[in-house]
Symmetry: C2
Subunit: 161 residues, 2 copies
């Protein structure tokens, strides 16, 4: 196994196609989450067409980055809780149960965006992640993700439905 | 002015480039919000690469659709409050202050998605919109958008900063 320090590089191949962060999705954003001390970090430079108003970043992209960095942070935290580093084993896959985004000010389109995550609360099944998104050193949005461990039979109807 | 019944077709040209719903963004999703009685509705069929896990829709796309349909609903509601129909005058532009998404179940990738909005609360400056997103008749996500009227000098630093 490669020793990349990006969490998503270690998703099992059958769950590595996420548009936001799957290394196997060639059309996608391919976000990469890493540890930076006790926080996680990812960086992304929007395309010129990721506009809200001309000159400013589209809010849906911001939500997407916070979503994927949130589930990535949950996965990294689950590994670390077991004393493991990213890459020691396949990254566990989390999915988003709830996403909250506060848009604090318009995000300028051009500079690289920095997304940081930290764990608010963690149980066996659930991780709550707080996030910030900054451009050129100024915080533009805050996010909160409730991530849950992906069930083994993701998407299959529950019994009786 | 064309009499299209899609709210976004009447955004002024200088604010019609949104990646999610701007008719002038050729790379974007071009979501269209219309009235359906007292609710608003939009429909969108994801691309095959808009995946979360294979077979399921990416959560960031869902957040994006709810975001744009939310600000579109706010704009439509502002018009209607003044007794106007979509297309009577340029659609007023709202921006998102807060977005909440509850992912209730995985959203199947394939069927057209239907997004519905209704106004929870409305003041001169702010509209709160509740939304649902359904696939093949089943509700998969719920959204809530706090939309605020776009300031005239969007993105310019406030005095004193």
């Amino acid at each position: 196994m490669s020793r990349s320090d990006a969490l998503q590089d270690h998703y099992p191949e059958d769950v590595a196609h996420c548009y936001g962060c799957g290394p196997l999705n060639e059309h996608g954003l391919q976000l990469e989450t890493r540890w930076d001390g006790d926080e996680t970090i990812s960086r992304f430079t929007p395309e010129p067409y990721h506009t809200a108003m001309p000159g400013w970043v589209y809010g849906g992209l911001i939500a997407s980055l916070l979503d994927c960095h949130g589930t990535g942070t949950a996965s990294a935290a689950a590994l670390r809780r077991e004393g493991k580093e990213i890459g020691d084993e396949p990254s566990p896959r989390y999915v988003t149960a709830r996403l909250e985004v506060d848009y604090l000010r318009p995000t300028p389109l051009g500079p690289e965006l920095e997304i940081r995550g930290s764990v608010e609360e963690m149980t066996e099944r659930k991780v709550i992640v707080n996030e910030t998104l900054s451009a050129a050193g100024e915080m533009c949005a805050r996010g909160r993700v409730v991530a849950v461990r992906m069930p083994e039979r993701f998407g299959e109807p529950e019994p009786g439905r």
